[in-house]
């Protein structure tokens, strides 16, 4: 308070009100009608108490996936992320005092480049859905065409986000169907929809049904004139071919499985990679390798002339704040796992999900897997009871069930998407089986 008075005196003022004299009286407010501040102890107690009404996947086996996944996070990742230099720094505009953050982000880009098979990666988008929106607009920047094809088998949330990103540049979004037996893309239907105005085709591997689509590697040779955008789950790339190696021009994905908690759906991590020759058309912040005045290796944000703060209305994207810390998490996570760790994790996910698929398939009334195909860590099940009802029954037994698909794919109204990762023990599996048998 003494300091406040000294500072006001220095300014020749007697009260704080004088600092706000330039606000006309008719737009002044008289304080905020919010409760008075409380002590730190009370804040901790109160917020903890409010949140205690949440049921966590720590205490209850959770079989949800569909874009956000429950994976093990090695303790070292938490240690690294809690470093306050990473946590409390701003975007690394001042490269010389931000070399650590810049290098960590460059390493993130390097990891993603290796996984995706593409040389240019940005330092993050908000999530996979906004990365899809930005990918669609980038396709139009690449070839000036305005028809973007997406699978019918896609989360409705992604479709909705894409529609909003496509609205401004007037991109027509067209859906192609899936094979009702395999859940893979319907190549005939796709062929009939690709035309001279088509800017890009989006395909997911694994797709929304968890299916590893065996057509993915054929698309570039089928449609060489069209930009190929592949959506992926980065953990699956420990086992699956890099999309860049089968012709992808842009690869996007949700990076949350890489050491980022589920956090009720945010923050997430939008992965965005493209071919080197298209780098000047790509959205988002990128970190480049360079040298300092003494010729030593250094890193900095680069290609900023694409960005909003310089190019303003002509920028490739408006993105400014991104998900940098989540990119560091992904990088730290992959470093802890190492090559063998990621390979083993990818395979364990496939093996565990297959095991659960087969176990459910043996229960009378359940069709599992519903689609006859290879799956990563998710699979569709047709249930004898409405999925919404089944989930309520499972919840009574302390189990968080799968995702009813009807909101996403209306005709799959008796179907549920289940996910199994390394987090589920044999007991979790048998517990689910027993509960399913019990409730029907």
């Amino acid at each position: 308070m003494r300091h406040q008075e000294e500072m006001l005196a220095e300014l020749g003022m007697r009260s704080l009100d004088q600092l706000f004299e330039d606000i006309p009286e008719d737009v002044r407010t008289k304080g905020l009608r919010l409760p008075k501040g409380i002590s730190e102890m009370e804040v901790l107690r109160e917020v903890r108490q409010t949140l205690s009404r949440n049921l966590t996947a720590d205490d209850h086996p959770c079989f949800l996936g569909a874009g956000v996944y429950h994976h093990f996070i090695p303790s070292a990742v938490r240690t690294i992320l809690s470093r306050s230099e990473f946590l409390t720094s701003y975007t690394p505009y001042q490269a010389e005092v931000s070399q650590g953050m810049l290098q960590a982000l460059f390493e993130y880009q390097s990891y993603m480049a290796e996984l995706t098979g593409l040389d240019a990666v940005n330092s993050s988008n908000y999530d996979a859905s906004t990365a899809l929106g930005e990918a669609a607009t980038m396709c139009t920047r690449l070839n000036e065409k305005r028809r973007f094809l997406i699978p019918e088998a896609l989360s409705w949330e992604k479709k909705s986000v894409l529609k909003n990103y496509a609205w401004g540049p007037k991109i027509e979004v067209v859906e192609y169907s899936y094979d009702p037996y395999t859940g893979e893309l319907d190549l005939e239907d796709l062929r009939s929809k690709v035309d001279a105005e088509t800017s890009g085709v989006y395909v997911e591997v694994p797709n929304f049904f968890g299916v590893i689509d065996s057509h993915a590697h054929l698309l570039k040779e089928q449609f060489p004139e069209v930009a190929l955008v592949v959506g992926m789950n980065p953990i699956s790339l420990g086992a699956l071919k890099a999309p860049g190696d089968y012709g992808a021009d842009i690869v996007i994905g949700e990076g949350q499985p890489l050491g980022i908690p589920m956090n009720f759906g945010g923050p997430l991590l939008g992965i965005f990679a493209c071919r080197q020759e298209h780098v000047r058309k790509m959205p988002g912040r990128v970190i480049g390798m360079t040298r300092d005045a003494e010729g030593e290796r250094a890193f900095c944000m680069t290609l900023q002339t694409r960005e909003q703060h310089i190019r303003r209305s002509k920028a490739t994207s408006n993105i400014c704040t991104n998900e940098a810390l989540m990119a560091v998490a992904a990088s730290a996570y992959l470093s802890v796992l190492g090559k063998e760790g990621l390979q083993s994790l990818a395979k364990v996910n496939m093996v565990r999900a297959r095991k659960l698929t087969d176990m459910i398939g043996e229960i009378d009334g359940f069709e599992s897997p519903f689609f006859d195909a290879y799956h990563f860590n998710e699979f569709v099940v047709r249930t004898p009871v409405r999925p919404e009802k089944l989930n309520k029954l499972l919840l009574k037994k302390g189990i968080i069930g799968g995702l009813p698909l009807v909101e996403h794919i209306p005709r799959l109204n008796e179907h549920m998407l289940l996910c199994s990762t390394e987090m589920h023990s044999d007991e979790d599996h048998s517990g689910l089986i027993a509960a399913l048998k019990d409730v029907i």
Partner: protein, 495 residues
């Protein structure tokens, strides 16, 4: 004097060892061919493997070559780098935050929904808006959402409005967001007082104007005192008034976008509400609107009925979604906690102190670094290094780099463009008088430094010397993989 740690910048990809990571499952014996189409099996994976000890050392060393707000003052104008209180870290890392899935049954996430509902209500009160969506992931994402809402609103009334008017002092995200939404940007010049030129605005608006986007106070830290007149002009033209909330930290409790007659507002929770910026993100960019825009907000809306919270998707006029799920929840938890801790009185005190600190620091600096456009400022101010440049060949850029040597982050430089050699300084309320005095002393010392070369070659005490940004842009090496290809093909000098 400050000295940053300086480790060799060897990439983790250049290190080698053996991973400690393992899983409690046996490899089931079968090969990958039993689990994936053979054409899609990865033939090789070129990733490093290191013991945990080496991984932790690598990243801790990197962290020591990074400057955060916890290390020192961060007067980065327009970015509101205030201290991030630590109780928020504790709460954001609770299992009841981290280990909940967005598709869980509403019954099982009542705590999360209640917190979000109450945060929306608090943001309504602070902004004077009627409803808030927490979905946008960052400020620019909030702007984009606001532009989509603008389009949806005009489309519903059957109007063809295609232009957005923006002052030349606006944040770069404003025109970029409008353009991304397919709207044409009309830029208007500022007046001689550094404010919106009301006559220019009158001339720019028409039946084609969809919205006018401004921040108040503006990026010069000057309050737009004609705001009522501006609102009248915009509304009479049938357009909407958009508030860029990047500068909200200046005015909480003193005025509000609502009383100023704005229609749409975005908040930057990572600025005003003290959530950490994470070296670039995550942030959160909630958007508040007036009643008439409420039907267009993204789904789901969080509603309270019979004491329970629900996610309501039944909004026929909604623009749909701007990202997956409900927002950056872990960031929302931090902002909510901050608002509880501060309370209405504390938030206003924060704004008051931010404005006091800014005016005090400006007062201490303006004889050495001239201040264009009047005197009273809000939370930030822009001074010019033009005189230094003319007299000693020291540019704003050099001052910024030299500050790093003394353990300060630099101000924002060369923005807004209407001030030559601009240094945009925002001390925030969390700096003490002592730290402001020390900063002012260092700024004066830099201006008076005997050998201007020392300033022009700064920094000297950071992990590296001045970084070659031109070379970075020319080579565009964005990954280790790209670097190695380049090495193999062109053999450039080894980096």
């Amino acid at each position: 004097m400050y000295r940053q740690a300086r480790y060799e910048r060897r990439l983790i990809m250049e290190k080698d060892g053996r991973t400690d990571f393992d899983l409690p499952f046996d490899d089931e014996g079968k090969g990958l061919e039993d689990y994936a189409p053979s054409e899609l099996i990865r033939p090789e994976l070129d990733l490093p493997s290191l013991p945990e000890r080496e991984v932790v050392k690598h990243y801790i060393n990197l962290s020591q070559m990074t400057f955060g707000i916890d290390n020192g003052m961060y007067p980065l104008g327009s970015c509101t780098m205030k201290f991030n209180p630590k109780y928020a870290d504790v709460l954001a890392s609770l299992s009841t935050v981290q280990n909940i899935h967005p598709y869980q049954d509403e019954e099982t996430v009542q705590g999360a929904l209640q917190l979000m509902y109450e945060l929306e209500r608090a943001l309504c009160e602070i902004s004077g808006m009627d409803a808030v969506t927490l979905q946008p992931a960052a400020g620019a994402h909030g702007e984009f959402t606001g532009m989509l809402l603008t389009k949806a609103y005009h489309a519903k009334s059957g109007e063809q409005r295609t232009e957005v008017v923006i002052p030349d002092s606006a944040h770069g995200t404003n025109p970029a967001s409008a353009a991304m939404a397919g709207l044409e940007v009309i830029e208007i010049p500022s007046s001689n007082e550094g404010r919106v030129d009301v006559e220019a605005l009158k001339a720019a608006v028409s039946e084609k104007t969809a919205a006018f986007m401004i921040t108040n106070p503006n990026t010069l830290g000057i309050f737009e005192s004609d705001i009522r007149e501006i609102a009248r002009i915009v509304h009479e033209a049938g357009a909407l008034l958009y508030y860029d909330g990047a500068n909200l930290n200046a005015v909480m409790g003193r005025t509000s976008p609502g009383i100023m007659d704005f229609d749409i507002v975005h908040f930057n929770l990572h600025k005003t509400f003290a959530t950490p910026h994470g070296g670039g993100g995550p942030g959160a960019g909630p958007v508040g609107v007036r009643e008439r825009l409420l039907p267009f907000l993204p789904v789901p809306r969080i509603v309270k009925k019979d004491g329970k919270f629900h996610l309501d998707y039944d909004q026929p006029d909604s623009i749909g979604k701007v990202r997956a799920f409900y927002g950056n929840f872990a960031v929302l938890v931090r902002a909510y906690s901050y608002i509880l801790r501060k309370g209405g009185d504390g938030l206003q005190a924060a704004s008051d102190r931010a404005v006091l600190n800014s005016n005090y620091l400006k007062h201490e600096l303006k004889d050495v670094y001239p201040l264009p456009y009047g005197d009273l400022r809000k939370h930030e101010f822009v001074v010019s290094a033009k005189k230094l440049k003319e007299e000693k060949g020291i540019r704003a850029f050099d001052v910024a780099k030299r500050l790093l040597d003394f353990g300060y982050h630099a101000p924002t430089v060369y923005f807004p463009g209407l001030v030559e050699e601009a240094l945009m300084i925002e001390p925030t309320e969390t700096e003490t008088k002592e730290s402001l005095d020390e900063f002012a002393a260092v700024m004066r010392r830099i201006a008076l430094e005997d050998d201007p070369q020392t300033v022009r070659e700064a920094p000297h005490n950071a992990a590296v010397k001045r970084v070659d940004e031109v070379y970075a842009a020319k080579e565009a090496i964005l990954s280790w993989r790209a670097y190695r290809k380049k090495m193999a093909k062109e053999k450039p000098e080894t980096l």
